[in-house]
């Protein structure tokens, strides 16, 4: 399964240092933000996870799915107008791929997200 996408969270992934980087500017009219929250658009923490997932999946070549969130810690809100930058690494771990991502807006850390990706063909 590949999962539907609540929004296109990634506009492009590039090599960066030992890993990868992607950036995305949050807009008040992004899908779902009208309800999170009315008149006060805050990028949901789970969409930061979604951003890391979509970016890591693209960097890994696409044939992987999210099987777990090892840890995610949100330290500062991301709001409309912010450009969220995600710097991440991929590391093989048994039959999975470990993703370690630092998320920041203009140098201010907003989240640290660590995911596990697995091969496609998880049971539906």
């Amino acid at each position: 399964m590949s999962f539907a996408k609540p929004l296109t969270a990634v506009e492009g992934v590039t090599a960066h240092g030992d890993g990868f980087r992607c950036a995305r500017t949050v807009r008040a009219d992004d899908p779902y933000l009208g309800g999170h929250f009315p008149g006060n658009p805050v990028f949901p923490g789970v969409f930061t996870v979604e951003t890391v997932y979509q970016a890591a999946r693209a960097a890994a070549g696409g044939e992987v799915v999210l099987v777990g969130v090892r840890s995610a810690r949100f330290t500062s809100p991301v709001v409309a107008g912010d450009t969220l930058t995600v710097d991440f690494t991929l590391a093989p771990e048994d039959d999975r791929i470990a993703v370690d991502a630092r998320c920041h807006v203009e140098g201010l850390d907003t989240a640290r997200v660590r995911l596990h990706l697995g091969r496609e063909a998880a049971s539906a």
Binding site: S2, P31, V46, A72, A124
Partner: protein, 150 residues
Amino acid sequence: MLEHHRLKALLPHRHPMLQVDRVLEVDPGRRIVAVKAVTATEPCYADLPDDAPHAAHAYPVSLLLESLGQAGALLWALSTEHDDATPLLGAVRDFAVHGAAYPGDVLRHEVHLDHATPDRALLRGETRVDGRLIATVPLVLGLAVTTTTT
């Protein structure tokens, strides 16, 4: 049981980000059971091409986590007084995805409150569809309350 209109008084989230439809059971301070029906009319399915396979219709894990987290936020809100504070996801640990949900499925969340302070709640929960395990958070789901939402 709490119908949807009651949930709007407890959470600041609104359509389409209010990801809980109904609370079936609540034991304040301890446990909640809440449901959310997945439908093909949700925004996450709007841009799927006509030839997208079944697997591409799996409900996004991010929204699944949001829905489970909101069930936890409702339990917290029903367990304590925190006025107009906005519950925000503070931390997640060991959230495991065991399966997928599709349009027509009803997510059934059961969340337990392990510990709460005025500005933080530690919860654990699981999500099932027709008894089939979809996701678990065996350790910690933290919700940080900020009264100022910038």
